[in-house]
Symmetry: C2
Subunit: 367 residues, 2 copies
DNA sequence: AAAATCTACTAAAACGATTTAGTAAAAGCG
DNA sequence: CGCTTTTACTAAATCGTTTTAGTAGATTTT
């Protein structure tokens, strides 16, 4: 058990010599003009058009020279713009969230925006509470990542993997139909007919849409989905364990299958562990298709075949559309829906199906 | 290539009916008292001691009834407290960062704090720029995660895995000596003498301290560190690829070894891939010890033996000490250093060393 | 030459809190 | 009763901007 140990010797006094930041008033006094003038000039207001360039130069120079930075709160108080977004995520975890957040980051930073994060961990009361806290913080808008929005909010919202049709929200979603088609087509081409599925947790935004698409695609390929071969993820841990448990349930049903299409890479990894413990080799005995293409999918053993979601891009799009909405003002038109395309990435976890159910007999577990 | 497609039909007007938030002045008018009084009472200022409980109750009730929430920027402007921390990270990635951020989150939220994040991606100019942006944003302090702080900053700093001795910063570090001892002791007990190492990137805060501890521990166990068996991670990708490349270099040296101690789990995973491609089995031919114990270390194939860092806890400690420092005021004493303890987690990637260099002959790669 | 327009600014009122210095009325004290 | 103290408040300044409505003087127009 790790224990912390606070260094007894190491106490310090923080005699910090913050040289006070210079205010607009001080700067104005310095150049011998009024704060109003400086504000107008520095913000390039059209009202300042009549001011001679020489004066403007003088002002800009002084601002640079004295390292003037407008006071954030003072400005926000006046303008009612905080240049801050709220980001609502289930948790900060390896796979999905991190990638989306990086995309958001990249867009925001170049627009001079920052974001504050809140993790609701699927707790209903937090899902309610956080938008209020964001409102208190005067965010200009929020991005919800894999988080259900159940009622309209008093600021613009972009929802990554959002599927609810709520006033004021822009949903950024994957083309799930195509994703399901890609996965099943790949498996069918390899000769798989008995396919098992791991559905997402009930609280995951994509679960339902994805499942509907899978059923549709299965119909298209004339594959029957056997109830015994469908397991659902339970619990909100971001570890592969939930996939491991779901796969155990699948195996316990003793209904033969030659392939698994998992809800995401993390659960696919857990499932692989379960299969191997049960004595099945992946992909020789059972093929596994993941979803997302997270960082380590390519380096897992075996390397995961997966449906790639452009997560980074989805984050970028969310940030971008939200910023545009904010810039355009509250009652301009905005897209209700942006769809992005998946991509099949074939690696080592899928191969041709073994003929006539040989693999389906449960073997002795190898340890 | 994923393409985005913005739904042509789906345009909406955002006729949002934000009912304006109530201000202190309005609330005051409503209860028939002055804003001053309300402020004093609501903030439980000692100045309000003389105000009868009945009046206080009336005020609190009205505040609740009219759902009064103090305006964030107005308050911050006056009090010069933003209840916001800046968090500086290399990037938001699966392993290290996410876990630490979760720890930070948990502490901050219960203290009514939020944080803004900036990813510097090891770019020198961003490392310089972000603290300034944080200052502009009036943060009350910053937490630097795996990020070098090279000069004093005008606000309190907590550095997770920080090793530089700078005025005003609290370093939260792992007991690297012990970590190195745990890893080498484990390997030595399994009979390993020829051990390869992957050092961290030059820009990683822990690289140097860890390496020094490893050398010390090696001396202790009378293990010689051969230069040909030391590779360093290069490049700032958070993918296992950098470990894969380093391991390739190790193999290219054609100097036999029976075990690898990697800088972190991610690079260990990359290295395992490289070993397997070269025809070595892990752990039968070469044992691998990782570092960190990230989420998927336990589910990798083989499951990673690793040195666990209490990352979540380190995040908590950083947040906690920083909040305390802020609460205590700028010139109170504070700890310079907090040390946390590592833990050896033995899984499947290590086993007894093969005797007399049999494993060290390079085999045919298996595909 | 008077009126209209421009030019180059500024005064002052917000924004929505907090906080210091009071003050009027009531209570306590000798 | 007169004096001090306490009680229950409030006025007004302040934080650092932005922005609207002017204004004084110069220039142009008629």
């Amino acid at each position: 058990m790790p224990r912390k140990k606070s260094d007894a010797r190491g106490k310090k006094k923080g005699g910090s010599s913050h040289k006070r930041a210079v205010s607009l008033k001080e700067l104005a006094a310095h150049v011998g003009l009024s704060p109003s003038t400086l504000s107008l000039v520095l913000n390039e207001s059209p009202v300042a058009d009549s001011i001679p360039q020489a004066t403007k130069d003088r002002i800009f120079e002084a601002a640079k020279g004295m390292n003037y930075r407008p006071h954030f709160h003072a400005r926000s108080l006046r303008t009612k713009r905080s240049h801050t977004l709220g980001v609502l995520v289930p948790e900060i975890s390896g796979g999905y969230t991190a990638e989306v957040m990086n995309g958001i980051e990249e867009q925001l930073l170049k627009a001079g925006y920052f974001y504050i994060v809140a993790c609701h961990r699927h707790k209903a009361e937090l899902l309610d509470e956080y938008p209020k806290l964001f409102l208190d913080r005067c965010v200009d808008g929020i991005i919800a990542v894999d988080t259900p929005i159940t009622h309209p909010l008093p600021f613009p919202v972009a929802a990554v993997s959002g599927h609810s049709d709520i006033e004021g929200v822009t949903n950024i979603v994957l083309n799930h139909r195509r994703a399901a088609m890609l996965a099943l087509e790949h498996l069918v081409k390899l000769g798989h007919r008995r396919i098992a599925f791991i559905k997402g947790q009930v609280f995951s935004s994509d679960t339902e849409a994805r499942w509907n698409s899978i059923r549709e695609a299965a119909r298209e390929f004339e594959i029957t989905i056997r109830p015994a071969l469908v397991a659902q993820l339970k619990g909100d841990s971001p570890s592969p364990e939930v996939g491991y448990i779901a796969a155990k349930r699948l195996l316990a049903a003793r209904e033969p299958f030659t392939a698994l299409f998992a809800f995401n890479d993390i659960s696919a990894i857990g499932a692989i562990r379960a299969f191997q413990e049960a004595g099945f080799r992946v992909p020789e005995d059972v093929s596994v298709v993941g979803f997302d293409d997270v960082d380590n999918a390519a380096f897992h053993n075996p390397a995961l075949t997966t449906i790639r979601q452009p997560l980074y891009e989805m984050g970028q799009i969310a940030a971008e559309t939200l910023l545009r909405r904010i810039a355009n003002g509250d009652d301009a038109a905005f897209p209700e829906l942006v769809t992005v395309e998946p991509e099949l990435v074939v690696r080592q976890s899928t191969s041709t199906a073994k003929e006539n159910g040989k693999s389906q007999r449960r073997k002795q577990a190898n340890r």
